[in-house]
Symmetry: D2
Subunit: 131 residues, 4 copies
């Protein structure tokens, strides 16, 4: 997990998710958290919709890797996100990814983003990967 988290933090676009901390990778689940700072903000100072999509992709991929017997990350075919409420500057955001199916050639994951302080669901995404 440490190695994967390290790669996530250091790789190209992922390096911009400053402060992202992977909390767990176990069975079909992966969890992480990040504090909303300038590097992931939109013009209003809230967590950028693109950063949320990137978190769905990255933490979702960790859950898919964890669920797959061969730990394959796969290639994304489809990703969607619905946005419910803004993540404000300084908010700690919990990202919880659960693999919905881990098959031979396809894997699916659902990802919730919540404000840690009160548990409010801020966004939910789903991703499909071809393994």
């Amino acid at each position: 997990m440490d190695a994967i988290a390290k790669r996530c933090r250091e790789g190209g676009f992922d390096q911009h998710l400053i402060g992202l901390e992977v909390l767990s990778m176990d069975g079909k689940r992966a969890t992480a958290k990040i504090t909303v700072g300038e590097s992931v903000a939109n013009l209003s100072g809230n967590l950028h919709g693109g950063a949320i999509a990137t978190l769905v992709d990255d933490v979702g991929t960790l859950a898919i890797i964890s669920a797959d017997k061969q730990n394959r990350p796969g290639v994304t075919t489809d990703l969607n996100v619905s946005y419910f409420a803004p993540g404000r500057a300084g908010d700690v955001i919990l990202i919880e990814a659960t693999a919905l199916k881990s098959g031979r050639t396809l894997a699916y994951v659902s990802v919730d983003l919540r404000r840690e302080s009160d548990g409010t669901l801020l966004a939910q995404g789903r991703m499909t990967k071809f393994l």
Copy 2:
């Protein structure tokens, strides 16, 4: 357009889309291009799926602003992306956003990402915004 492009380039998470150039904003359309470099790459060196989603969001928002009489950017309710082929390091990517509907309270946009050299469609996204 220059002012908006400048904001896009300088704002928090958007600053990581290094080299993003807005080419046009006119009527219901906005176009931009970006060369795949390290700042937007995934671990394979290709354009990161999260960067693609961010481009759908940002360039799609420019089309929605352009289509709306009051130039409102709105707030995203839903975003989806399908991924067809990788954007390789060094590829110039054209992003073309077309507003599908610009209403009083809701706006929708479709966004194509193509490799400039041969026109290959790499990804397509759609976004819904509440104005």
Copy 3:
């Protein structure tokens, strides 16, 4: 609930969901079940992807109605479904819808379809409605 279920069964396109039975509508949740028969089958005899999308729409709307203080059904802006495994002829399918957000102008719902016999998740959808 009976009145709503009756309307669901009798209304135009919904009348084709033969055997659909609403089990509960309570707080932010609605549940229903249907046995896969010829009226909802595809050419392979399995539950049709369009029927699944229709179930996401209908049972999801019941959860949104239940969650909203004024019981507004709203108008759909976005709907998505991921498909994991087929619903076979004769399978009893449980549909469980949970409102993710019930706001003043927007409501969101997530819907799971499971095979009752073994709990296998067959599909998951999400819907956004403008109230």
Copy 4:
């Protein structure tokens, strides 16, 4: 094409798309039309969101079959629809599906639904199939 259209009209759930007429299947495209009648209506008498999703699935599949060298229909992994305006009772709806990618193992299609009388875009969907 006639054989396929016939199967579409006669198969289980598809039989409820009363009046669906396939107009063309050529290269990467398929087109069809349907008049909004009681069999495909929601409680307001408009084209049901589930019927729209079913049309995206069915006409989209025809485009995928047409684009694939082996004419494989595939199995749906993901489907999404955005809804822009209602299809009213009596409206003739044109459904235009264009394959976005037709690969060895994955195919993608975009589907537009328009009101024939004035060309208004009523809905747009995208579908991914595993071949």
